[in-house]
Symmetry: C2
Subunit: 449 residues, 2 copies
């Protein structure tokens, strides 16, 4: 019988086509060139780019694409008979990326993509197509950049029923929050700096509103809990409301603030429900996620046998993302997905994924950080604490800022004892419309350690 | 064409035999029972225990083994025709574990093992047998318990040339060092406590001398650098010399002390050489490994495209280890290693692994913590600092403990500027035999951030 060594010398290269030649596409070309021999040794055969497509052919990208076939219409990449795997790096949940992906899998050509939005919205359809065609579909780069966490959940923790998956999935928000922590600057100023440094996009909405993290969470939840991808059910709160003063208060209490994406499945009245939410949280300084600074991402998976596992690394950037894309290609070159045996992209076949209803977490117990901005006048504190009492929210500690700011505004921050989330919401409803409050209160749950 | 879903309903179970029914073996049986349906859905077929072997048949283990075939001679498990994969959980680098493993792979039966010593000593031979037979050989549980770091390096970082792999690979040492940190107690006392709590064995030699970590490092180095496993070349220093006073000094300087296993490949005179060493190091408190406390393990892999990746979790225990064993079984059930395509256990075929010479790290630059215990009399400090000067070691900071202890002994601790490791060794040679010193000096390198 042929050994692996013999196979690798005789084996045909894995032929790929790349759609999209932005920083990640160019990164993939660079990586395949730089580590060519190493990859061939590990994959058992070379990985060769045969064709590319992008918006502009002549643009100088710092890499020579003259030896690759060019397609003006990227969907034509899928029609080529000399392509084993299409690498989709165009982005966007629909449009050309989706058309190309459908065309590739429809023809039985493998698909590797870094497109979190497309997988969050259309992952199930694409996975079904991949199963039908026994073609590999892989998307490691769609979640947490260079961290092999899709593989980590699909294969590393595969023996476990997971109790929880959570983490820091958006590098832009994490950069902003940890920079605010380091400098004491406020959100708007720090966002502008992050944009200048390339850590935030010109239109940062998807990042700072938590939508990007929600895309990634929906993918991880599907893999981790055997759930049908359900992006629409992710409850999402961004970081725009977080002030420098909140970070200072959190620090004084022993916490940092991080945008946390979390998912779990718990029984509600005998029916398992999927919780998926993205929200800024207070994280105790001795929690592993509290030390995740800058654009770094990290994912914690808690299994019923493995215990708590942490995967951490660069969540974005051309190098790390290319690393994830090419790891997928090496898996395919090694035989992953051959005849479909090891190919279920979401860890189990689509037909076996469950459509969980969305969890109603109101009865769940948590500690909460609450911050009010109020008018500096007598009786305000009594009004707030009465609302807490009436909603059965027990206050663990309370800080009122000594002096009003220029607008005559005072900051009141408190941490509650553990209690039902719904009670805190009720307390805020009781205070809704009060002319003591000068702005929307901020509610930050405290991540359990 | 059959879809995965259809396959999973029709597929035959993966039939396994377990050798060794200690805590891990029992953990595997428990895990397979507890998560049976989930595993079948993910693996595409059930995983069924058909036969077991251990020293004592009748022992009460808390699980019912009556429905499994029993073999008094564990090697007979490999001879059975109803077994697809043998799970070796006996331990020991040679003896019955090795005989069983050879018998299984020789017959073309798959092998999953948690045996770090056997893989560190005989991994290449077993991998060659696996290649010849096109049988899967997997050993995720041999390194870092439940953390999928063998997979992480073999597949997650497969696109990268690694610049460095390092981490905390021994939970016993990490438990002792972080407990000493928390309590201020000395080594012997803390070891005794760890033994009482089950974090250290009655004979702790393999752990506290760094041999266990060296086994694991040799395996990771092989996978990460495409090296022939070379356990004999690992340079190993244990933690026995670390005193409570060292931990206190390190703390004052902004560091913690951890047993660090590290490997890299660098050119020495144009020839690539493999560095493998295990030694206690000072780790800056803002380094990800400084927050790894108790019996936790963590591995950092630095790739030329991925950047720094961290894998962290429980490094031992029946649950985490069983999680890793069964993850390997699920991979095999899914088709891993079928016809040998994706099977190279060390990431590339044995014939392509390189036999690097051992690195001579003396010229490498590092900062060092040095601690001397000296007689409390005039001139001692001058003698030490003169030796440093003569060996061209530049001192960054120096602390002399104010008062002598009961034995008239004073502690002198210093941190050097970055300089060649060999210079520090030379300084110690100059001081060798000095009657000013009351004991062996302690040298702890400072891990670069």
């Amino acid at each position: 019988m042929a050994t692996n060594a013999a196979q690798s010398q005789n084996a045909k290269p894995l032929r790929i086509a790349i759609a999209g030649l932005g920083t990640v596409g160019v990164g993939v070309i660079r990586l395949l060139a730089t580590n060519h021999d190493l990859i061939a040794a590990r994959a058992g055969r070379a990985i060769e780019v045969v064709a590319v497509s992008a918006r502009e052919r002549g643009k100088d990208r710092g890499v020579d694409i003259a030896s690759y076939a060019w397609e003006d219409d990227m969907t034509a990449l899928a029609a080529r008979d000399d392509v084993d795997v299409v690498v989709e790096l165009v982005g966007g949940s629909d449009g050309p990326a989706l058309a190309l992906s459908r065309a590739a899998l429809g023809k039985g050509t493998g698909l590797v993509t870094a497109n979190k939005a497309m997988i969050a919205h259309h992952g199930l359809e694409l996975a079904e197509m991949a199963e039908e065609a026994a073609a590999p579909l892989k998307f490691e780069a769609a979640v947490a950049g260079g961290i092999p966490v899709v593989k980590g959940l699909r294969e590393g923790t595969s023996a476990n029923a997971l109790t929880k998956v959570y983490g820091i999935l958006n590098g832009t928000c994490n950069y902003i929050l940890s920079a605010m922590e380091a400098t004491g600057a406020d959100f708007a100023e720090t966002l502008a700096e992050a944009q200048g440094l390339g850590y935030a996009e010109a239109d940062p909405t998807f990042d700072i509103e938590g939508i990007d993290a929600a895309h990634k969470l929906a993918i991880l939840a599907a893999i981790g809990f055997g759930a049908k991808v359900d992006f629409a059910a992710v409850s999402t709160t961004g970081i725009v409301q977080v002030r420098a003063a909140d970070i200072a208060q959190a620090d004084a209490l022993g916490f940092v603030i991080r945008l946390i994406a979390e998912a779990d499945v718990k029984d509600e009245g005998g029916v398992p429900k999927l919780l998926q939410r993205v929200r800024p949280c207070l994280v105790a300084k001795d929690h592993p996620l509290a030390n995740v600074d800058g654009p770094t991402n990290a994912v914690v998976a808690e299994g019923n046998f493995s215990g708590r596992l942490l995967f951490q690394g660069a969540g974005a950037g051309d190098g790390p993302t290319a690393s994830a894309v090419v790891a997928d290609l090496i898996d395919i070159a090694r035989g992953f997905g051959k005849s479909g045996e090891v190919g279920a992209p979401f860890s189990m076949p689509v037909a076996q994924l469950q459509a969980f209803g969305a969890a109603e977490p109101g009865h769940r117990m948590e500690r909460t950080y609450l911050r009010f901005t109020v008018n500096d006048r007598p009786g305000v504190l009594a009004e707030i604490t009465a609302a807490m009492r009436d909603a059965d929210v027990s206050i663990e500690s309370l800080i009122q800022q000594g002096r009003a700011n220029e607008g005559g505004e005072v900051l009141v921050a408190m941490v509650t004892h553990e209690g039902p989330e719904a009670n805190v919401r009720r307390a805020l409803e009781l205070l809704d419309g009060s002319d003591s409050l000068t702005g929307e209160p901020l509610v930050l749950p405290i991540l359990p350690n």
